[in-house]
Subunit: 305 residues, 4 copies
């Protein structure tokens, strides 16, 4: 299997040159387009890795399923569903999903920015510092990596330049979708996106979702099985932005990408996969990362369809 991974990276390496490193915040533009890494954790306890799997990058949108999980753990399914919808928007990740001067919770989706910002307000905590701390703790626990931390440079860069997210947050405020102070909510969201992880971390987090709430090895249950189903279903329909349809057809497993270049894939009951390659396609997904997953899915029959 290790050989297979090495072979896949070899085959897909040319695609790293076709993607474009994200530049919408200055700090991200420093990513190295040549990076390509993969880590696979299987339900039999074995793990396999290749390439730049130790390299750290910011989690970006891959934090969205973790935000959703924590919101579910803190509030239960019914309340979370009443505040943030689950339908695909048919639009890019930072789209303004406002039609005809109205905005309802059903217009939101936890996997696009507006919905993710709204979810920050569902995490419990006495202030937004504590909320973020709890999110970071959950991330460390899921990844089994206590060294996961905030990338200060990226966080400050996001905070300084995140005007589109500010616009989205003020729209949420306008239509009563969030009640707290907009800048505090955004601060939590910018921090969440700036958590620094590696491919191994993403594979571990994906594994817990594949394993329906239980950690690897110890099989300790972190959250109810139902929440894994809830999150995985949304990853399937909306996890890869407006490229989710092609991903479902060509890879066929729940997954989430981030503009930092990471992809976390969930193969229910079988494995968690973490991928890193910062060159993005036109929809904001890791271009070479998707190619690797397409090949891996074909070779190992990963598709759940």
């Amino acid at each position: 299997m290790e050989e297979l991974l090495e072979q896949l990276l070899e085959d897909c390496r040319p695609y790293t040159q076709q993607g474009k490193v994200a530049t919408y915040i200055p700090e991200l533009a420093k990513g190295d387009a040549n990076d390509l890494g993969i880590y696979v954790l299987r339900s039999d306890g074995r793990h396999y890795q290749a390439g730049d799997y130790k390299k750290r990058f910011t989690i970006q949108s891959v934090v969205k399923p973790i935000l959703l999980l924590l919101a579910l753990m803190d509030n239960g399914e019914e309340y979370v569903r009443s505040r943030v919808g689950v339908e695909a928007t048919g639009k890019p990740f930072d789209a303004i999903n406002v039609t005809d001067q109205t905005l309802f919770s059903d217009h939101l989706n936890p996997m696009v920015n507006m919905g993710a910002i709204a979810m920050c307000t569902l995490i419990k905590g006495k202030d937004y510092e504590e909320r973020f701390r709890r999110l970071l703790d959950l991330t460390r626990q899921l990844a089994g990596d206590q060294e996961i931390d905030l990338d200060q440079q990226v966080y400050l860069s996001e905070k300084r330049t995140g005007n589109k997210n500010r616009a989205l947050a003020f729209l949420l405020k306008t239509y009563g979708m969030i009640e707290d102070d907009v800048e505090q909510v955004l601060d939590c969201y910018f921090k969440a996106c700036s958590i620094s992880v590696n491919s191994k971390d993403l594979a571990h987090i994906g594994f817990v979702l594949a394993n329906r709430g239980k950690l690897p090895q110890t099989e300790e249950r972190i959250f109810p099985s139902r929440y894994a189903t809830y999150v995985n279903a949304i990853l399937m329909t909306c996890g890869m932005y407006d490229g989710s349809g092609d991903f479902a057809v060509n890879v066929g497993v729940p997954a989430k990408s981030g503009v930092g270049g990471g992809i976390m894939a969930v193969v229910p009951t079988r494995m968690g996969i973490g991928i890193f390659s910062p060159g993005l396609d036109g929809k904001g997904n890791s271009l070479a990362g998707i190619k690797v997953l397409e090949e891996l899915s074909k070779r190992m029959y990963l598709s759940i369809f």
Copy 2:
């Protein structure tokens, strides 16, 4: 299991009163809101049924995955994908998916009307009569039911009143998405929607998709496994219109609904399910039908997530 189905129908029968029978074409309005039936065909060859499972209704949008299958069988995956996209539109089934005066194949989706009309032009045949005949033949073969036929009344009613579909077809023509005569293409589409089936038929068709291309019992292969994956993935992300997200979360299997009241569900490797209940929710899906599937999914752990 038969008892379980009887119990489920009993429990969900009150919901039949909350849905509304489709009225957008006069003939459909004659449906009986009290009808509720289910048929389950399992991979071990057993089948279970309850309620009005023998009752016939028009297939409507449940024909879309069959249209897609035939288009794939006639043209291969690459060509079909180049003509009709696979992303969720985030809009109702008969939406005008035209932005800023342009229309691309990637704006289309085989599970909404525009995409389905475009797919009619991909079926091979010397004329549109032959194309429809081949679609009907495939439907009969998949359902294992040679008595499946056109409902003339509904077909004529659709043809007479289907002006929204005419508008959509002329837009496709305007932007070069279809080349043939619009009225001929529409005639084929209206006929396709007017095929008369019952719950058992839908369960059989769903089974072949769950069984990745092979008929029940004989295990005769009708189409390549890859096409089942292709179709099932799209059913997952877009099969229940703009209710696909909630369906993925709450039921968790590929499925397709039609405004005639039918739902075909595909439980990969395990079973095909056909449901019938003509009372629809606000998104055009069988209201009681979804309730039955939600319960069945919980009791039998059907979710693939």
Copy 3:
């Protein structure tokens, strides 16, 4: 004044090369981009002309104010206003003005295609042949030119290729905005657009609107003063498609353009102007024609603001 016109054409002739002759119907593509003509009819009875003012071209959208006039004359203001709105759409001339699955009369505007198609159904006549005949008669009367007639080639070309207009008409039908047979309504609309006129005709028609319903010389009243106000106001806000704002600022008089290259301008109480130059700008307006009007407005203080 004749000299002024000659001078203006001289100055603006280079702009004829910047526009593009309409190609959306094959017959229009035959227009000669070098053509440039102007005709001015003043309230003191004098007229001035220069360039290709005798050259014939199809009236296209300049027929819209005449359609509106006839609808007003046949039905009165209140009824017409109840069927077709008067607000600018903020969109191109053939836009699909459908929001969220609904279409109201207030979404229509008589100066864009959807509204103009709807107006065809408001003209009185025992059949659509008679309706068109009455429109042609009014056009001849307003222009004082009995030789105005249909351009058969353009009409047949429009009819054969007018699929976008077919789509718009079927949408109108879907939402109950028109009741008659779509193809008959469209036939009338295609004929209306294919009336062959010259700059002198447009100047005469514009003059009657400027003169609030009375013909030149005889001062015979053709329609009530109120209808001129109604039409002129709409020409001001929407007559130049989504270039109406710039035209109001830079020329400042009610006007209507057509993709055949014609512009009819109305200088209330003072003059009617007809212009012809088939090279269009990106919004479908005669590019050199607008330049001529901008200059003329500056030199003769035509702006009503």
Copy 4:
């Protein structure tokens, strides 16, 4: 004439009960729906008034033409036009005019919020305090009323609750339409909307626009004639939000309304009119105010068409 005005107010007073006082900011909700006042200043120097013409209210969107004037005076027409477009948007006043992830200056209009916010950045001044001071000075000069000042209560209320405007401003920032600090720009905009005026003030300001840049009596020129034409043309096409089409047809003069209940109307070369009645119609225009203007236009032949 005074009698005519008294009569008109009498006739239109019932309409004050049909409108609804704006409540989108708490302070505005305190307006008295019974108020109705009018002030007319004619080019012969005479003025006529009736009803609550002395009552003060906040200028709200009626400040937009003054903002535009000052932007023109500070930068010239060409630069202002390059930064803020002039086309009707076809949407409500606070609409998000963003299509497909892009925003161009041509999408903006000086008479809707986004465009007006952008214009604040075009006013010259060493800081935003000085910019606002200059706007206030121009307003006083145009109105011939040195006592015009900021309504602190409304200003603070706007600033506290103006989240939709914050969202619009951050979108402008995102797409490079404004460069300055968003909160400072907004502070200037909120202050501009909160200038306290009466019907007489609006009549005076409207008069200067009607008089193409010269003050009443002294005939002192404040701005070039061309800027009056520019502003009046935009008032005609977009001054009454998405009710501008009906207003052009039924009243026929450039005008601007504000949610404070004011309307400023410009009858070129003839008069300036100020109206006040805080009950608004569904589009945010003074309901009784429009009725008064419709009647006045009919009786005095004000329409410029």
